[in-house]
Amino acid sequence: MAHSWHPPKFVLLVGLFAILMGGALCIPLHAADTEVAILCSHRAAPYEQTIEGFKAYVSGCGIRANFQVVQLEGERDRAEAAVQQVKEARPGLVLALGAIATHQASQILSDVPVVAGLILTTEEIEARKNITGVILDFPLEMQFQWLLKILPKSRNVGALYNKERNSRRIEEAIRVARDMGLTLHAQPVTSPSEIPRALEAIAKQVDVIWGIPDDMVYTPQTAKHILLFSFRSSIPVIGLSDAWVKAGALYALEWDYRDLGKQCGEIAEEILKGNKFNLPRPRWPRTVRLSVNKKTAARLNVKLQEGVLGGSSLIHE
């Protein structure tokens, strides 16, 4: 039977490897000037990339920081206790990623500067003087400019929304759209079961359906229905993100999450090197990546203009 393994070289390698691994795991135990806690709402690639970008920027700008990542695993109950623990550790700065982390940070951390990222609105942080961040959205003007760039003949834009959650956004969008020569046909719904009727109601009026982050209208359960409606009636859907484009939406404005992290890092630098009690205003993401589904474009007879797809575009075909 096989002799399994001969030690000398291997023992040396195991020892070396153990030292490397142990050393690597112990690195954060060394003293650092600033404790930075990172509250992460979910465990997914966009969060990881944002954290990577943030850490890389902060470490590279001369701030000696010790990062502590706290995973909240999407659990609101657990988040409260976790953020309480972070508070007791008295970090110099907190990066809160996602709605759960930002909500708990806004409730519990009143005397620590917080940079929020991957949040869809500023509602939660507007009233707090110790919180700022980068919003996971783009200015309405920019969104409609892209719409006109990709679908230049569009004049009537449809939108489904939950009145209780998104009235303010829709009112603002109607105004901005009007200023840009577009008419926004907004159809409120009060439950997902109303979506088919709402789609039929706007079908004859609109050239395109504009997706907005609304957790009643845009869910995995409703996605198939909305996208099939789009195919059947040849009305393109502007997706919420790359994942939606992959599933069949025509295009979406997507984020560069590493750059988002870097942007959060820049705000952190301003705070840590400057006044901790006069935080800058929340910012829009500065990088936009266009995500396009060429199959959908072909099916809906949408001709993508030359030059629309840049090198950084995400293309599904």
Binding site: F10, L25, H42, E75, D214, D215, N301, L309, G311, E317
Partner: protein
């Protein structure tokens, strides 16, 4: 300690480990899954998984007309898989055997010793990899792609000849490579392991501003192997059964892919040199000259475009190269009656050119129609066998062949939640005439998380050049040019059921019936190996698997397969385990810092070619990985066969050994630096 006590001790460890793992899964399921309302931003990040292989166009796994498993890059890293064989044997219903030269895949109870993986179609990015002479799907160290370059592996069970043609008999394995945009820079990777095994890789990949995307990679591996004891050779004149320096393995891999707009060019090349310690085909034992050298290479030029009116087109041109050399030392009678050591050599060379055109279109809102045509010219399928010194030729066979096929498939959404997938392919082979293969699938989704599939398909395999023409002048084998193609019909019922947010159950029952099975046996009249058509073989079985994935990073799969494959006389087929159970579990040990991936595989006894039975086996592997420990440096440590299980895989007619011993406990340390 007696053997039975050792066995009992090992069984206890396995049971305790199983209990621990199952407990982890159960507690993970019972722990609160959150408040049930997704955080707003998660609306943007949710993925809808899709699979390309089952129908040659992208579709959801649940809508594919087959039972499909997808193994991701994350799983490959977490479980420390080293070869494609490692990946396949972690999948429900699949198993792999190793004769200490090549790895062979068994599926659904069929894994005949002496076959060369010709009943599974292997693809890299949709390009056929099975060679032109033996139809072999290379899944061991001779696989042309470094395992680190795999993005995911799509494993489609059942016959798919209605779309892919020959060899898609028991399944199709499509390996999808990483793109430049996935790599975004350079990677250097090195690993060291037991048996003085060292491997290195350098890769660069990126997508540039002008849309050009490219990947280039080179890998090299060398393993000194082990000194192995074979009781069948335990005599003083054969070194008391110990083969020294006869297990060496070495390969070099090169891969490149570039794409711009609708065009892509991809190429891979692998050369592998493996010594053979088993004295297969009655060669001299403990002679390091016994070895095989394999070369696989291909170039694939592809154009893919989505036209207006929902019409998509794919066209490809390709070139395939295969080169094989096997050295076999023999002790022969010379004319002077003295015995001499003679080096006998087999060589095989294959070269092909081919093309493939495919159109897909959505019609009347409810039909997804795919039509295609394929032509392949094997302009070289040569085999030679000769004594090297003094030169004497036994076989010089130069053949070529051509085949073409046309196919169509329609996926019809009859009603919301009810789909019919119907496919038909016509193939014509110069030597064997025509074949018609249908596939039918009825896919019913009565509820959001419930999918039921009723599937039927047929497939064929023409005898390959080796089975038809190989002979070595009456030393060990003779040719049989009267071989007929073999065919298979498969019926299958699949049930996929989601439970809550985290668990998915896959269950399937199947029955297959194969006619004119090509099988290697020893002709009692002259003692020579020959391939012959058996009457029929049948198989039936049940596969059940439960997949779990939780937000806290725990994910795993537990599966059980029962299968019974027998020939027309009702005799159990060789190398066909009746029961298999597998458990895979990944979990974070230190969040963000350290992850553990463990797999446990159980296989019940298998019948050997000498009508005996192997022991059952429990193999457990464990990998610890620490990602990004220091600015792009990933480290991992793996232990394979942690329980040091002493087990063997059934040998073939060419082996004197009834069971070929497998590796005991072994280790690997790996570091990858990305920059």
């Amino acid at each position: 300690m007696s053997a039975s006590r050792i066995h009992a001790f090992q069984t206890c460890i396995v049971l305790i480990t199983l209990l621990f793992m199952i407990q982890s899964l159960v507690f993970a399921e019972l722990s609160p899954p959150g408040d049930g309302t997704a955080a707003d931003e998660m609306l943007l990040f949710q993925e809808i998984p899709s699979v390309y292989s089952a129908s040659r166009f992208e579709q959801k796994v649940t809508e594919a007309p087959a039972s499909v498993t997808v193994v991701t890059r994350q799983e490959i890293r977490a479980y420390g898989h080293r070869t494609l064989a490692d990946i396949l044997q972690s999948v429900p219903g699949f198993y792999a055997t190793y004769d200490r030269n090549y790895n062979y895949v068994g599926v659904r109870g069929f894994g005949r010793p002496g076959d060369y993986n010709s009943r599974v179609l292997l693809l890299i990015d949709g390009h056929r990899v099975n060679d032109q002479v033996y139809d072999t799907a290379p899944i061991g160290t001779e696989f042309p792609l470094d395992i680190d370059l795999i993005e995911r592996v799509e494993i489609v069970r059942g016959p798919s000849s209605s779309v892919y043609g020959a060899n898609a008999f028991f399944g199709v394995v499509n390996v999808i490579t990483r793109r430049g945009d996935d790599i975004k820079g350079a990677e250097l990777s090195g690993d060291a392991g037991s048996f003085n095994t060292y491997k290195g890789r350098a890769t660069y990949g990126n997508r540039f501003e002008n849309g050009f995307e490219g990947v280039a990679s080179a890998s090299i591996m060398h393993s000194a192997g082990q000194s192995l004891f074979f009781k069948e050779f335990d005599r003083p004149d054969t070194g008391n059964g110990v083969a020294r320096h006869c297990d060496t393995d070495a390969f070099q891999n090169y891969f490149a892919r570039m794409s711009f707009k609708d065009f892509s060019l991809e190429g891979a090349y692998n050369t592998r040199d493996k010594r053979i310690p088993t004295a297969a085909f009655d060669t001299l034992f403990d002679d390091p000259a016994a070895r095989t050298v394999d070369e696989h290479g291909f170039l694939d030029f592809k154009f893919q475009h989505a036209f207006r009116n929902d019409l998509s087109m794919m066209a490809r041109l390709y070139y395939d190269h295969y080169d094989f050399k096997q050295d076999s030392p023999y002790d022969r009678d010379a004319p002077d009656q003295a015995r001499h050591r003679v080096l006998f050599r087999d060589e095989a060379r294959g070269e092909s050119l081919g093309g493939d055109v495919q159109l897909s279109k959505r019609l009347f809102d409810s039909h997804n129609v795919l039509v295609g045509a394929e032509y392949r010219r094997n302009f070289r399928q040569d085999q030679f066998s000769f004594d090297v010194e003094p030169f004497f030729q036994y076989l010089s066979q130069r053949v070529n062949s051509a085949n073409w096929g046309i196919y169509a498939q329609d996926d019809y959404e009859i009603l919301p939640g009810l789909r019919l997938s119907a496919g038909l392919r016509f193939d014509y082979y110069e030597s064997f005439g025509d074949f018609l293969n249908p596939r039918l699938g009825l896919i019913y989704q009565p509820f959001d998380k419930t999918v039921i599939k009723l599937l039927y398909g047929s497939a064929f395999r023409v005898p390959n050049a080796y089975e038809l023409y190989y002979q070595d002048g009456g030393i060990t084998a003779k040719a049989n040019e009267a071989l007929k193609p073999e065919t298979i019909d498969t019926y299958e019922l699949v049930w996929e059921q989601g439970f809550g947010k985290h668990l998915t159950l896959h269950a399937s029952g199947y029955y297959w019936s194969m006619r004119d099975l090509i099988n290697q046996r020893v002709d009692p009249s002259d003692g020579l190996l020959v391939f012959e058509n058996l009457d029929e073989a049948t198989g039936k079985g049940v596969e059940i698997g439960l997949d779990g994935k939780w937000a806290n990073g725990i994910q795993g799969r537990v599966s059980y397969s029962w299968q019974r494959a027998e020939d027309s006389a009702g005799d159990w087929l060789t190398n066909s385990p009746e029961h298999m159970a597998k458990l895979n579990l990944m979990l974070p040990v230190i969040p963000e810092r350290l992850f553990a991936g463990s797999e446990l595989r159980y296989m019940s006894p298998r019948k050997t070619v000498h009508d005996k039975k192997s022991d059952d086996s429990y193999v457990m592997n464990l990998t610890l990985s620490a990602p990004n420990v220091f600015k792009g440096l990933d480290l991992s440590a793996s232990v394979y066969n942690l329980l040091n299980q002493d087990y063997g895989d059934p040998g073939s007619e060419s082996n004197r050994q009834d069971l070929i011993p497998q590796d005991g406990i072994s280790f690997r340390l790996k570091a990858t630096y990305s920059f």
